[in-house]
Point group: C2
């Protein structure tokens, strides 16, 4: 293995990408909906009940014992999920054990990483971990950007992660699934217990396709653990430990949305845009992230809906107390939840049948027979940068540093209308550029940019341009917005790179949409 | 194709079975837990969202249009489920359409068939349908036993059906899934609407693995249809029709258990046996069928539990008002439901979170990492015949006629204790024989035979023999029971066959445990 990437090519967006990553052949991005693999889904090895305890009790003594029984060895792919967020205690333990056993060159395949995983940098340095495929946030991102990781990082969306597992692009050797509640057979959920995280959807593909699956819990109950968000029929071993997560870091006690006047203005403008264009209509649906501006948009939506006496059919979350309030107030009929951000979300999911858990399979997998993303009327997303062709970036900052994962961002771009409320500049650096540092989403899927100094509508959306005619919305072209920012801040400096790729960004279909380059030291 | 079966062999139970059925190579039964395929699960073709409507609406104008779009053609495998039982209106329609289109040699792959499917005999005769893999009950069984079907029938248990699809043994070209409630994306459940059937678990494998999946409903609601027992991400087309089933034949208004004094005696003896042996204990679990003796056992269990102040952890059903009453009374904490038999069952499933739907995957699939069957403390099953080695038959009668499907019977044999309460003779024909007409389950898995003239315990169960010592239970050997029956009825005549196999019986691992022979005319 190593960072070989001869045969660089330009993909359909003109970005330079490698044709081989970590010794695996790759397909360059070909355009939205253009790449259709002529192949079959991965079929895991056929198991036999005769190899499992007849009474269903798969419990072993410790995580270490489970990993050894699962055959942990050099070069394997180890997957974890991120439902414990920054309170996760499992991923670090797994690699502590790997180190203790002298296992090398592992591929870590988390559904996301968090600052708590900075602990793993020592194992990236000493060769226990060869590379990460998943988000490389904060310290891990910096480490990657500096070219210190042995292999090349691969970033995928939540849907892309499901797709890559389903399609056999990534074969997981051992999946470790932490669960707030489980039975000894391996049925598990995230609903009940001190480490409640709400749901376990991000571990679904891992459970279905991994060669060996280990469920770890600090709340083992008698069979059956209901609901079984993870089905024990996919599970090889179960383990009880004292503590799998730090509760207050798993979910917040409560969610507070932004108090920043700038962000509130963006949120208000976004809601007004959705009202004027009729996007907010009886039976509509929306998705807004939990933090920052996107979270505040939900509050403005709720106000608008009350005023217009409109009810929505469903909202997609990351749920929090604001979405739960809308559900309980009857403003929406359902929350379709991908993850849970606060205790109100956890409580609601455990009690309210209008609160439904989803998975990257149902919501986001591009290699399914459709997914939920396209059904959602409007989605409010963030971005670190947007270019004049509406291409957008969510993973790197303008200094070139890899600092964020993709999450469901790429997948949500298939919603009927995609709105990015973003400030025109951050720290005096313009956010709208001629060319973004890293393309994560093609401009043809991004419809509206809302900034504090005006709203730009993608010229492809003639219908929206028509609808805002005669309104008092400050509609401008994206070039005008860019010019305004540059008048104030000047033309931004571009990052300086070494001639070395440190990570690649996958599109939702498994092709490579862009590369991340080593920062010049 | 045709009924070639040169290379007959004797399997591990000494039964003569073909090594090839309908031109497909077969594995003879090798013993419990002995056959372990070294292969991978079937992976269906990778789909792309770009081939599906972006707004999620997959509705087409009619079932015929959906079948044509799905590419219906000669030789295909068409699957249906049996949740509508004898009220099913879909399976017949599918083959009416196939006939109209002139399509030939189809393989019908139902999860079970019912008398309402007698309509299909014309298509078995004219070559529209080549053969059936699934239960061949009543008229279809008689037709098969008379050697009139073009191909050889294959009978599988519910779990074996899942296993055969998962393992790629049966590739379904088109699955048609009738649902009481669905959205245009294809999410579906059996809970709400005039054709409510409770659940749709028997269509799960079909949805997951079929090349094309059609959901048909008479109750289309806006997305999302919740709960999604069938996930729209597996569905190609959705169809609305006026009526998919005859409600009163789908579920009974109410379940009445047997009033026969003979059967009630067997049920009472069974419950007493379970009390004396300690099988009924705090936190225990049981499964009893809905009809006849097995249904009555549940009532005696409930009485015993009330008297002993014992609560069970769960019951597995076919649920009906008696199980629902136990749940509501708090005698059991959960019902794990495979299907639903009456309106109380449907109501409870829609309302009570202690009422959980299962699938053949979770409950019965032998090629999973365990399944639920082995966790159940005691299961009460029926049989048409038992031999002195405890081998039992559920598919043919003593005249050799194929008259029943296997259902979950084989799968349940893995429960901790298997009890068959059966009369010593039926219509003056002894039920305990030297050799059964057709072996469906190996004797080593069958623990106790309860008859009106005594209880026989399998000598392998030394623990149970120990526990009944000193009790007033009428314990006898199975040979003694057989002798008693023959003293009264005489030695039964054995059926006369032609030298031709008309169907085979699969074991839970996909091997052939026995053959069904053509009845001598």
């Amino acid at each position: 293995m190593g960072k070989k990437y001869s045969n660089l090519v330009k993909n359909a967006l003109g970005r330079t990408v490698p044709q081989e990553v970590n010794d695996q052949l790759q397909v360059p991005y070909m355009g939205v909906g253009k790449y259709k693999p002529d192949a079959n889904r991965y079929g895991p090895k056929i198991s036999s009940c005769s190899d499992f305890p007849l009474d269903g009790n798969k419990q072993v003594g410790s995580l270490k014992e489970a990993l050894v029984k699962a055959g942990l060895k050099d070069g394997m792919t180890i997957s974890t999920h991120h439902h414990f967020r920054n309170g996760d205690l499992l991923a670090n333990q797994i690699f502590d054990i790997a180190k203790e056993l002298g296992v090398k060159d592992l591929r870590w395949y988390p559904s996301a990483s968090f600052p708590c995983h900075e602990h793993l940098i020592q194992y990236l340095e000493d060769g226990t971990i060869h590379h990460i495929e998943g988000s490389m946030n904060g310290p891990l991102g910096k480490f990657t950007s500096q070219g210190k990781m042995k292999g090349i990082g691969i970033l995928r969306s939540h849907g892309g992660r499901y797709q890559s597992i389903q399609d056999g692009e990534v074969k997981i050797d051992i999946a470790v699934i932490g669960a707030a509640c489980a039975d000894s057979f391996g049925n598990a959920n995230g609903l009940y217990g001190k480490s409640a995280s709400g749901l376990l959807g991000f571990a679904l593909a891992d459970s279905q396709y991994a060669d060996k699956v280990i469920v770890v819990t600090d709340n083992m109950i008698p069979f059956p653990c209901i609901p079984w968000q993870i089905q024990g029929n996919y599970v090889d071993y179960t383990v009880v430990t004292d503590k799998i997560g730090i509760p207050e870091k798993i979910v917040s006690g409560t969610t507070e949305i932004t108090k920043s006047p700038d962000r509130l203005l963006l949120a208000e403008m976004t809601a007004k845009f959705c009202e004027i264009t009729g996007i907010i209509h009886e039976g509509f649906s929306f998705q807004a992230g939990a933090g920052g501006t996107a979270g505040a948009v939900g509050e403005y939506f709720a106000e608008t809906m009350r005023r217009l006496k409109i009810k929505g059919r469903f909202a997609r979350g990351g749920s929090n107390k604001y979405l739960v309030k809308m559900l309980e107030e009857g403003l929406i009929e359902y929350i379709l939840d991908g993850q849970t951000f606060d205790l109100d979300g956890v409580r609601s999911m455990a009690q309210n049948p209008g609160h439904v858990w989803t998975s990257p399979f149902t919501s986001y997998n591009y290699h399914g027979k459709g997914n939920f993303a396209g059904i959602v009327d409007v989605v409010i997303l963030g971005a670190t940068e947007v270019d004049v062709n509406y291409n957008a970036n969510v993973v790197t900052h303008s200094d070139g540093m890899l600092l964020h994962g993709i999450g469901g961002w790429q997948n949500c771009l298939f919603s009927k209308t995609v709105i990015l409320p973003i400030p025109l500049f951050r720290d005096r650096i313009p956010v709208i550029l001629d060319e973004v540092t890293t393309i994560c989403g093609p401009g043809e899927l991004i419809d509206v940019i809302v900034t504090e100094r005006g709203i730009a509508i993608n010229p492809l959306r003639k219908d929206l341009l028509e609808k805002v005619k005669g309104s008092d919305l400050p509609i401008k072209t994206i070039q005008e917005l860019k010019a305004e920012a540059e008048k104030i801040c000047g033309k931004p400096a571009r990052p300086q790179y070494e001639d070395e790729i440190v990570a690649v960004i996958k599109w939702v279909d498994g092709t490579i949409i862009d590369s991340v380059w080593k920062i010049k030291s």
